[in-house]
Symmetry: C2
């Protein structure tokens, strides 16, 4: 599932997310792209689905919203576990990839013979800037 050449819709959605300063909902993206010919939610959801598969967009489950990946990290199928720190004030999201967390979760899962497909870690709180 490599980030091959993106389609027009995928490109537009990705750019929208890239330029955003906070996570966007699918419908917010839709509104921002009406001028570019978007008319229905599916156009957004389909693009998001692919971009998420490619690993260049992440879905934030606790927010029902999406962000462009800011991780220097691999976009490959390796799919490292990523933790998100989401600021309630400014909306800024930082991605954290930490082997210790990943290993520990793997141990805990194995301990109960659980086979993990996908892991979600989201911290909601307040970032340094907004706390200051």
């Amino acid at each position: 599932m490599e980030p091959r050449k993106l389609t027009r819709n995928q490109t537009l959605v990705l750019e929208t997310l890239t330029h955003a300063e906070a996570p966007l909902s699918a419908y917010t993206i839709l509104d921002k792209l009406r001028d570019h010919g978007f008319r229905a939610p599916l156009q957004v959801y389909r693009a998001l689905e692919k971009l998420t598969e490619f690993g260049i967009v992440h879905r934030l489950e606790s927010l029902n919203a999406f962000v462009a990946c800011t991780h220097p990290h691999d976009h490959g199928p390796e799919k490292a576990v990523i933790a998100f720190a989401i600021c309630e004030d400014c909306g800024q999201v930082s991605e954290i990839s930490d082997p210790e967390i990943e290993d520990r979760l793997a141990v805990l899962a194995t301990k109960q013979q659980f086979k993990t497909d996908k892991t979600t870690i989201e911290m909601r709180g307040h970032c340094g800037n907004c706390t200051a």
Copy 2:
């Protein structure tokens, strides 16, 4: 926010979740409680909100669904971080409370001066029974 005496609606919702074998959506709960006089989503959502505050019900963000807490653990305001292992096949959810994970996330947050209010950890996959 102690689990003081529950109201009628809260009791009904909690019992519904307790008897369920998998997470339930708010609307599923509503349907199960129609015979008991429930008629509107808010009756469910309001009860869920309180039960969640009390710590005796958890919301699974990646599922938009709810489970009764099965954790022997404290229902107090201490609010330990809980990781959920959610089986895609049978729906069974197990709660994992692990100080190592908690500590590590705390370290990572602190490192970037992030003040965490609430942490979500959800592993989606397949439990031992369903893999066998």
